[in-house]
Symmetry: C2
Subunit: 240 residues, 2 copies
């Protein structure tokens, strides 16, 4: 039997350390491109994405395009209806609610684990971030920028607690949540309230006040997604 040593080497873990790449670059580029278009709502929920159209647009055969679409469908960016077509997925409010809940539950526990023993470097990073949030609000830089800072704030927390992996898990179910957030378009006074809450949480963490954290995050668990507003204004984007 030939090629036994390839097998052995792989089994012997020479290769597993190498970086996993699913293709050259173009497929990854197309993927990123489509994701961006879907998340930004340039590609509207329900819009059709045909394989042939994409293959002409990117000058590639249908085969690699199909690979991309398949992956997008597994990450819920796209719904595949066999022999009918591929549609940009509708925003699923159920998913949004569940992911917000998951996020809050995790965060509560993570913050409690950091309470009282947060590393100095991390503390600086978080305070820096809060300062930027403040600046963002004062100078009215818009919700987009604020949300990015917000994400970074939470992600840092996950990292400090050694739970970056779980942040990654959350990201994989974010399609619906991100688009929901974009449509929601928070008002300025709400941004200020969020920043204030972040500040309070960080204070509790520094003081090691786990009870305070519990108290403050408790009402978050009943994620009150503003579905009525969305149902009215963006009915065609929402999954029924």
């Amino acid at each position: 039997m030939k090629f036994i040593s390839l097998f052995y080497i792989m089994g012997g873990r020479t290769i597993p350390n190498r970086k996993l790449v699913y293709s050259m670059t173009s497929k990854k580029e197309i993927m990123a491109y489509l994701k961006q278009e879907i998340l930004s709502l340039e590609l509207k929920p329900g819009a059709m994405i045909s394989e042939t159209a994409l293959s002409e647009r990117f000058q590639l055969s249908r085969t690699p395009i199909r690979d991309v679409l398949k992956q997008l469908s597994l990450e819920q960016y796209v719904d595949i209806y066999p022999k009918k077509g591929n549609l940009v997925s509708f925003i699923d409010l159920e998913s949004v609610e569940q992911i917000i809940y998951l996020r809050n539950v995790l965060e509560k526990e993570i913050m409690k684990s950091l309470a009282g023993n947060i590393p100095l470097k991390g503390l600086h990073e978080l305070r820096d971030n809060l300062a930027q949030q403040q600046k963002c609000i004062e100078q009215a830089e818009g919700a987009e920028v604020f949300l990015q800072l917000d994400d970074q704030f939470h992600r840092t927390m996950f990292g400090l607690a050694g739970r970056e992996f779980l942040w990654g898990v959350l990201q994989q179910f974010n399609v619906h949540y991100i688009r929901y957030r974009k449509l929601h378009m928070l008002k300025d006074e709400k941004l200020a309230a969020i920043r204030q809450e972040h500040q309070q949480l960080l204070d509790y963490i520094v003081q090691g006040d786990t009870a305070g954290i519990d108290e403050l995050l408790h009402h978050h668990l009943r994620a009150d997604i503003d579905s009525k507003n969305l149902q009215e204004h963006f009915a065609t984007y929402i999954k029924k």
Copy 2:
């Protein structure tokens, strides 16, 4: 412009209610088959899965086989090394630890939400399950059966709290965890301890004793995965 009405109908949500099927049956069957083989460790971590071999075995062309492998790789059953081959993934202990943590955090919150107001029907179901667990231990039916009951127990909890969605999320990251559990092969006395704990938890829930739940589940958050034992006996299965 033609075919505008297909688009409209889809956008008009006639079709989204239909069940999503990625293919006829054969692809799904192959998928399930491979998953089972990988989870049961018949296909050992590091083993090579060639497209041509599968296509001969299942009498299908490489194209649908590739679809299956692609999906398996996204669910971490398989690692694809471009132009080299597809390997059954090695067990990633880091994933195992993170998933156990996630599971415990979620469960703690879910049980607390059920405390004091668990529906009667659900209570019966859980008690039934505990009785079966007891029977399983007494008659030494083996860890396999017990673990299945264990899963069912927790899943029921998720369902009662309206969090079946999140149970699904957990399942998607289970490849490493399930295989880890299989290798671990719990001893009988440990099974009894687990059952005892379940019983205690259910009692707390009925009594509405959230503090008790907190207390009992607290130490679970420091998931002590028994990696030393595994590293010794199954080194070739573990991701380095």
